[in-house]
């Protein structure tokens, strides 16, 4: 969920500026909301103003307030505008705003410890006794704004969408015979050609304990076969991949991201191209869960990177049906289809990290997804100046997709810390680096003559001609925004990398960035 609000965040009805506030997002038919919201009555009139924000229509909201005797102000979040701005993954979700209106703490689901910490932090006595008969913890339901397919009673005034169910049946339980080896069974039925950890009921339950959503919630439908990714099935694949339970807070937004229509997993999973979803992790979650961003960042250093990337791939295989011996028709494939997850080395980045470029605050944990070719390395050890380093990157960039194809691809450029030092020392800002790469990446016109019908030559009439170092060239990229920059890798070795894209734009795959909720 977002901890800092965009400038254009809508006004909060009844909010008193200059005072702390608790924003409580809820749905009227969510059992966890029904359990949690009355506890907050005790805080009304304390140092914080309590404002309930209903994601349902006026009639249901009034009924909810009356039946549960909610004492604090409750308003309907019309159009779910505030829900979209604060972006809770599930409800109930409580945001504590400081006197400046900045969200400084959040709480999801029903959590007695969390409620008591919140109360004490506001100078109040604890509000959730351990022995009042309610459980210590209970997961909530998916937030309405993440489910556009409402049944016509939500506060979303976008009108009813297609009637798609949000809740699925529990996953089937498979009891193995005494003689069946669970590892071999899973390898045959659900594996990725490597052995997996069997998703036993106990291990999946432990995974679900770390999750703020009910197991039967459908998080997304996974292309290309559009299987329902329930929280429980996501957890089962996470177990198989070797994830630790706390990884669920990354996996849920990751599954949403990969099923985002802009990313177009339907095409990415079925194409004959090399593309595989590259996960890029930013923000505090790197340290909290142990994501690796340094030497061997594309390799097998950290459990967090390896298991998150593998869990995504297992979900795409088992729930999405994109099997490499079936619908996934990639001619050569991509070793990233075992696992493809890196983190940005923000500590060695003198500029803003990737997720800030993508509109997030630096303190917000985030994941970005890019349909990427395998990395192609750039060795540049003798350059003394930034410009020379960047020209080496330009030469690699000119080769993405196909050397003579221009304007049809994007790229992720991964600058290693040693290259970054040189570039930054010579005074380049991040936007200047992007601009330089855009302006100086081209393919010499002479390489198109004589016309031989090769890939890219047929579209020359659409290309933009520029002069680069005195040579007539076709400009490789359509804009500086087609080049995504991040810093990763070890501090020794002047090796950077470029990763080309699959088809781009609204008719291809677009990079998506999702926030990762706090602990």
């Amino acid at each position: 969920m977002k901890m800092s609000l965009p400038q254009e965040a809508p006004a909060i009805p009844g909010y008193q500026p200059g005072k702390k506030a608790l924003l409580v997002f809820f749905e009227t038919d969510c059992p966890t909301c029904q359990l949690a919201l009355p506890y907050l009555n005790a805080l009304d009139g304390s140092r914080a103003q309590v404002i309930g924000l209903s994601q349902d229509d006026e009639a249901r909201t009034q009924d909810f307030v009356r039946q549960l005797a909610i004492a604090y102000s409750v308003v309907v979040d019309r159009g779910l505008q505030l829900s979209r701005a604060y972006d809770p993954q599930s409800v109930p979700a409580v945001f504590l705003l400081d006197e400046q209106g900045q969200a400084v703490k959040s709480l999801v689901g029903f959590d007695k410890n969390g409620l008591n910490e919140l109360a004490v932090g506001l100078g109040h006595a604890p509000i959730a006794p351990a022995d009042d008969g309610a459980p210590a913890w209970k997961p909530g339901c998916g937030s309405r704004h993440l489910e556009p397919h409402d049944e016509g009673t939500s506060a979303d005034d976008g009108g009813p969408g297609p009637l798609l169910r949000r809740i699925a049946q529990p996953a089937q339980r498979i009891t193995l015979g005494e003689d069946e080896d669970p590892v071999e069974f899973c390898y045959r039925r659900f594996g990725d050609a490597l052995p997996v950890v069997p998703p036993t009921a106990e291990k999946v339950a432990a995974m679900l304990q770390a999750c703020s959503l009910s197991p039967d919630n459908i998080v997304a439908r996974v292309p290309p076969c559009y299987g329902e990714a329930t929280v429980e099935k996501i957890a089962a694949n996470a177990v198989m991949a070797g994830c630790r339970p706390e990884m669920m807070r990354v996996l849920l937004p990751l599954v949403r991201a990969v099923c985002d229509e802009r990313f177009n997993a339907h095409g990415v999973q079925a194409t004959t191209h090399f593309a595989a979803p590259l996960i890029m992790i930013n923000g505090p979650v790197r340290g909290e869960l142990g994501f690796w961003s340094r030497q061997n960042v594309f390799s097998n250093v950290a459990r967090a990177n390896s298991t998150l990337g593998r869990a995504l791939q297992l979900i795409l295989l088992n729930i999405g049906g994109g099997r490499p011996d079936g619908i996934d028709m990639s001619a050569l494939g991509n070793s990233g289809k075992f696992s493809f997850c890196i983190a940005e080395n923000e500590e060695e980045n003198p500029w803003e990290p990737l997720h800030v470029d993508r509109g997030m605050s630096r303190q917000q944990s985030a994941l970005s997804l890019f349909a990427a070719e395998p990395p192609r390395g750039i060795s540049e050890h003798t350059a003394q100046r930034a410009e020379t380093v960047l020209r080496a990157v330009c030469h690699a960039l000119a080769t993405v997709w196909s050397y003579r194809m221009c304007g049809k691809a994007e790229a992720v450029v991964i600058l290693c810390p040693e290259h970054v030092k040189t570039i930054h020392r010579d005074g380049f800002s991040k936007s200047q680096v992007r601009q330089f790469l855009f302006e100086n990446t081209g393919v010499p016109v002479r390489h198109y003559k004589p016309a031989d019908g090769g890939e890219g030559t047929q579209l020359v009439s659409q290309y933009r001609e520029v002069t680069i170092q005195g040579e007539r060239c076709y400009q490789k990229f359509s804009s500086p925004e087609a080049i995504h920059l991040l810093v990763a890798g070890g501090t020794a070795g002047k090796f950077s990398a470029v990763l080309g894209s699959w088809a781009i734009g609204p008719t291809g795959s677009q990079m998506v960035t999702y926030s990762i909720p706090d602990r």
């Binding site: 339980r173 339907h266 729930i319």
Partner: protein, 93 residues
């Protein structure tokens, strides 16, 4: 102690569709040609249309194009093919 696993995959069993019976002849039939928008698709389909009209005496050839090869055909495109006796979907490259 038997081990119980949680099914990690989709449990929706796809229903196999039965293909319609093969047409005995294309003569007098309406044939749809779906271009998936890959470069070069029109070369193949132009020739196919010519053959369907001249060699196979198709009564009508309807040309339909997907907006992009990277995504499913939108309903409006599929709708244009309603009523065809046969449809040929053309890959290219």
């Amino acid at each position: 102690m038997p081990v119980t696993l949680v099914h990690p995959g989709t449990e929706n069993v796809p229903q196999a569709a039965t293909p319609p019976p093969r047409l005995p002849s294309l003569a007098g039939k309406k044939v749809g040609l779906l271009d998936i928008s890959k470069p070069g698709g029109s070369f193949f389909l132009d020739r196919l249309e010519q053959l369907l009209r001249t060699r196979y005496q198709a009564a009508e050839v309807v040309r339909v194009k997907k907006p992009t090869y990277t995504k499913n055909a939108p309903p409006a495109v599929v709708e244009q093919l309603r009523g065809m006796d046969a449809v040929i979907e053309a890959l290219a490259d």
